[in-house]
Symmetry: C2
Subunit: 334 residues, 2 copies
Amino acid sequence: MKLTISDLAKMTGLAKSTISGVLNNKDGFSEKTRQKVLQAAEQYGYVPNEIARGLSTKYTKTIGLVIKDIANPFYSKLTKGVQEVAGEYGYTVFLCSSFEDHHTEKEQIQAMLSRRVDGLIVAPLLEEVTFDHLFDLKAKSVPFVLLGSVPGLDSSYVEFDDYDGGRQVTEHLLERGHRSIGFAAGLPTSRASRERLRACRDVLSAHGLALRPEFTFEGAQELADGVEIGRKLIAMKERPSALICFDDVVALGVVKAFQSEGLRIPEEMSLTGFDDIDLMIFPLTTVSIPTYEAGKALARTLFGRIFGGPDTPPQRIVFDEKLVVRSSVRTAAN
Amino acid sequence: MKLTISDLAKMTGLAKSTISGVLNNKDGFSEKTRQKVLQAAEQYGYVPNEIARGLSTKYTKTIGLVIKDIANPFYSKLTKGVQEVAGEYGYTVFLCSSFEDHHTEKEQIQAMLSRRVDGLIVAPLLEEVTFDHLFDLKAKSVPFVLLGSVPGLDSSYVEFDDYDGGRQVTEHLLERGHRSIGFAAGLPTSRASRERLRACRDVLSAHGLALRPEFTFEGAQELADGVEIGRKLIAMKERPSALICFDDVVALGVVKAFQSEGLRIPEEMSLTGFDDIDLMIFPLTTVSIPTYEAGKALARTLFGRIFGGPDTPPQRIVFDEKLVVRSSVRTAAN
DNA sequence: AAAATAAATTGAACCGGTTCAATTTCCTGT
DNA sequence: ACAGGAAATTGAACCGGTTCAATTTATTTT
């Protein structure tokens, strides 16, 4: 059915190796043969079998991308960046979602390895349990780049300065006179969320303040979680004067809840997010994260390693997070 | 470096074929051998090479997904659905984005084929030029499913009843008394946009009305395009009383433009969208599209074909679009 | 015109699996 | 103890490429 190199060999009366050589632009072939091969390949619509090629060359021209959830704008934008760079290199990307499950993450990485990807980009879940699977990658000297560093693992990574982002919003709120601040954190598996929370706590405590447990929420992930947090806040007799959401999606959920109950932002409560997603139309004060650029950087770093060989020194790239002041934070009457 | 089946054979003193057989759960092996093989594989951490396996079995356990833009929530949600079903089948998905370019679309499909994917899901761009590459797939009897049917191509597809969606919004607007309606269409390569526009025109003309050219915009794709359209409308002395946007992202852009200029929706202009994206917090009257379900349906249909063989009759699945009335459309003072 | 050198082409082995006919080993019944 | 049949194991060919030493062909040189 499918045309193979041997078929072409038969048709042109040349040897397999000749066909292969010409098709791979190796030199040492006469112009005549070259033309004959090229012509035949063109005419019969020969499509090389990358699987077979991969088997002998060990290069599959394929990279794996393991993220948490493609439906989240943060990851879809990052993915776009990765894809674009991969395309430039003639690479195709395997997309895997861990769906926030540690076991799935391991499985997906395993699947990528058995498919012999040339390299991996992983946005690992943070788990108490173990990073064995990542250390394994290193031990096997599979080229890989992480989104976010992993303690003790001397690997390439791209990360955002989430701690600093958290610092910036918190200080901004303090400057505007807020003293009672709430925090809607993400899943405990999110490094970004943890860092932001930690920064917030640090800054507050440096000012002699603290996050009150009843104003601290955990596990927010989707819009619906934000809505729920919003509802809870509405139901409270006493509320923080400002709420930091660990990402824009959650913030949007809170906005939605507030809107439907007629609670006004920032008059009745100030609100901030993280990511600065494109689809935001609410004038949310947030922290912008260069997701798309990070995706590109991840891919570029990975290719650096793939082509540079195992002795390429690990690269660490940190992107800054930048406060974007809009109008969801009011100056609090102290 | 990597452990192969031959290595295991050497270590256990058995034949390659025995190792392979046991690992693939074929029967006809003694319990003793079976254990010996399994044990060794486990102990030395054997990972099968899917590339090699793919070469001889012709099954790569891989499908290709070619979409336009992963950063668009419509596609990222659809992708999530595809991925989830693929995962159930132990398949991994290659993600390709055409970035709205017809040539890239062809290339990506080609790349997938040379990687010998077991099947393809394609959201094809609509182009005057040609669907040759899709007809080719059929000719080569590569299993594939399209998002949206292609005229003359008798293939499996999943689509939305975009015409009916367009009908619904338009009628809704007419019922609410709107007579001067604008339309912000997408790229001409979008089937959905075309169908919706066509429906709108049909309904209007059935009521003796028409879309005025100056209220009809083309090529809207991202939020920024919506913003621009919004600005243009603001600058007009005379405006339509309602604007149908071909998707929520564009609608969001219009909302953004209006908000910044203080133009009120729906008081000064009514607005509708399509998709009913999760991140919508603006009470936009829109048409909901079961993107995620469509992704799952696409994948399931594809697997039906992959496992059912070439004689599987083409499946056509049409998902309904449903008007979701919120509060961005007012009853017009005629 | 023969020898030396350079250029072009080829054949066989290999990558890591799968497959299946052929062979070997193990039981069973007599 | 042995023939016969069933069960277990094996070896070789194959999938479709790449690689490279060896061979063949062409071109120079003397």
